[in-house]
Symmetry: C2
Subunit: 575 residues, 2 copies
Amino acid sequence: MLAAFEGGRQAMTDQHKNPKSDIEIAQAAKMKRIAEVAKDSLGIDADKLEPYGHYKAKLSLDYIKTLEKKPDGKLILVTAMTPTPAGEGKTTTTVGLGDGLNRIGKKAIICLREPSLGPCFGMKGGAAGGGYAQVVPMTDINLHFTGDFHAIGVANNLLAALVDNHIYWGNQLGLDERRIIWRRVVDMNDRALRNIVNSLGGIADGFPREDHFDITVASEVMAIFCLATDIDDLKRRLGNIIVGYTREKKPVFAKDLDAHGAMTVLLKDAFQPNLVQTLENNPAFIHGGPFANIAHGCNSVLATKTALKLADYVVTEAGFGADLGAEKFLDIKCRKAGLKPEIAVVVATIRALKMHGGVAKEDLGKENVKAVIDGAENLSRHVENLKKFGLLVIVAINKFSADTKEEVDQVRQICAELGVDAIESDHWGNGGAGAKDLAKAVVKKIDQNGSNYAPLYNDALPLWDKVRTVAQTLYGAQGIIADKKVRDQFKELQDGGFGHYPVCIAKTQYSFSTDPNLKGAPSNHVVPIREVRISGGAEFVVAVCGNIMTMPGLPRIPAANSIDVNEAGEIVGLF
Amino acid sequence: MLAAFEGGRQAMTDQHKNPKSDIEIAQAAKMKRIAEVAKDSLGIDADKLEPYGHYKAKLSLDYIKTLEKKPDGKLILVTAMTPTPAGEGKTTTTVGLGDGLNRIGKKAIICLREPSLGPCFGMKGGAAGGGYAQVVPMTDINLHFTGDFHAIGVANNLLAALVDNHIYWGNQLGLDERRIIWRRVVDMNDRALRNIVNSLGGIADGFPREDHFDITVASEVMAIFCLATDIDDLKRRLGNIIVGYTREKKPVFAKDLDAHGAMTVLLKDAFQPNLVQTLENNPAFIHGGPFANIAHGCNSVLATKTALKLADYVVTEAGFGADLGAEKFLDIKCRKAGLKPEIAVVVATIRALKMHGGVAKEDLGKENVKAVIDGAENLSRHVENLKKFGLLVIVAINKFSADTKEEVDQVRQICAELGVDAIESDHWGNGGAGAKDLAKAVVKKIDQNGSNYAPLYNDALPLWDKVRTVAQTLYGAQGIIADKKVRDQFKELQDGGFGHYPVCIAKTQYSFSTDPNLKGAPSNHVVPIREVRISGGAEFVVAVCGNIMTMPGLPRIPAANSIDVNEAGEIVGLF
């Protein structure tokens, strides 16, 4: 049930024989000073930057405002087929494609999500790309980075403290202690905090009630942070967070507690996009990192919009497979932010195709053309889905050393029949040089055809029908079902003024269906909706279909045990 | 019971008539770029700094190592009489004295603690000085600053997660769930988290047990962070944290959980001292901020030692009154770090003296020489105490507009009889220029006399006798008492190999006694010890005498309600 975390953290050290580890490659990188990257690649003067050390910087909001009138570059989405334990390399491909575009003389910026700190101490593996397609400084990015997630955590927890403090001092707003939905957060995999009873101890300690902690990235503050267009919009959205309900089921908002001003103050610096670089010294914005299940799973709108003003091509990624990440990118982020993506690059690997074709992980090293063909059903479904949004599509085959010519040719053939190109890309092994073919193909495709992007459904469609549309059109489902209680919740939200919100479907990332074991492209399944939640500040309605874990645990032997500082003062064991 | 927080947060806006607010003064400050401050004042090149924006920087540990052979400057401690609600202005005086020393041509650096973020949202008031004696950028310093406390919080919570995770996966070390002493932390005033039951929910969520959250500054990680001399010492101390006991009462250490390496990685960047500036562009290190009750209440050893290599005079402060802060500075920090302080500046105000003389807060505006004389008993006791450590002593009268000549003359007279100078200082109203007399007096005193600093007791004295020595010698107590259970704990620690540690006495800061209502200089009282705790990584034994609050709550109308970002994007309502 580790639904929350993604393939990026599964180190792909077996991509090639005897490779250097990611951290070795990253630590050997010849980084430029970030002020130099900003000046050379983007023409930004050092005084528009807030440096965080010499290799990370935030871009000032005042400077960003001056870009308003500039034309936008082209937006490229990197997404993937349904993830498998073999790893697809979505972040790696995003970085590689960005470097590839720069290699062929295009001005390109990549936009990524910030990794969550907590999971670093659980499973081994970072989330800043891999091989020769990484963003650096990678240990910083994987640890505290510029402190954004800490700011988000504090803002979240200030609101939580204000909720219980309000009740303590007389509960003028009449919050029902049983109906408080706002949770506390820590940026740590800490299962002991999933379910607690708080406010124990006596009169001076409050009114005991059931409470829960999520990991910081699951906070609605994170989703808001990533969707807000400016500080005013950030504050407005924070004020609209629903913290709980009265006994009469009337929502109580963060603004009712006068919390949103102070929360905005806590987020003000963090809200400035972070600039770092790839191993090839090309600019990368890494900003925000919401979950791709209970939230929309993309980096901040502000970073993406800023990048579009500064570059001709912006390469960004969305979480999980295209059914989750790309759908939310297109139906939530792009719809709300007025973004017009041109093309979707669907990352596939021969290994993942074989796994969808029924091959066990230990047998992936052997050629199996039949399994590739069978597994390609999954890829085909994603490609067809993305076309339904009016996007151009290219398949990127993220190269592994065990791939055979027959297997790769088979994928090309299948893609040709779908009318899309499948391009082999070796950015993991060769950086931007390995991704030049992919970059050229992407540019050619964009130049030939205009984008026809449109979201899958209209704002006006009722919430229930929005979920059904996604399930039927993209998941191949027969329909959706829910208990009366859940259907009543849909009705309440529809009648309560939230009917025009997009829906955010939280389901397993391992299948088009809600059963993680159903690989390939299942059809005629039914999607059961267990629960509906309203994110009043993020402005979407979450339909929960399955067990969604918002507080992971640590494994029996956590990565923390082997993380250390060596005699030379270097960090070891992190990836 | 807000024992944890200090006078600094009570904004002294009534120090003079119609003053500008602290935040107005701070926002109007003409700051220099921090690289300029480092270069001009300290001769440090920009590449030895890790910038955090343009006005904050961390000093690289490699650079600090190169200073080892340089001679040390003179160390000046700013402490205070017993705090009252009237406010004494210890931080303000530290900043003012530093600026005053620079004004009279001396090379001086100030060393302060970092403020805790959580309390900003409770009571109004920051902790970065006041009036024209402040450190800037003050909103940054009072909020996230350079993220040190966030790093300390995560390191603390990683260890907590590893403890419960260890139990979850089979509890090989045999930790007794009832004897876990390691608590979780948040940097927030959140009374709901003081006492909780965690790990509820079922088999996958762990073994339910009673648990507690402290505010981040109360973490032993904070105390360790401030006492460690380098990264190796930091890691060693983190490994020696006792997280709990087995059923057989055998201690279980952080190193038994392999936690200390990863905790060190989390603290590595934070461990570099932070450089900022005063309103007069003089250098200030602000680094670390442990409680002054359950911990030792001073900024980091690393910052103080680094400052001593870079300046001729280093002005630092210790928490609360001299009975708590100065005693711990001298008996814990200086003893352990091999520091040799020259002089203690005891901050007094006419207002505070009157309150100790029995005047109510609302009557402080009226002249009352008799009350000043009565209240001076408190000041005299502190002065005599500090002499017992072999220190030179000067009294600084932090000037308020309502002070009369007769009142001030009376204090001078009393101090003269004690053999110490009492110098009026108007740094609040006039910055360094207002503190020149104080600066001159301090320099003159240091030049005339050598320091004879020695801690109050020897390492070899048994723990119980150490506490008694402090209580009798400094508090004026008849003796100390404790239940058999507590006396047994003393014996266990003494026999368990911790007998050579210094003691850290946690008691109210409002009286020499354990009764906060006993003003002045009470004698022949008895100090009851309620509890003993061992801080195995910080390497001291805490004797708890009274209710010590390690997780504050928010007031009925929290400051958070009025904190906001205005149309111009400026922070308002913070102080």
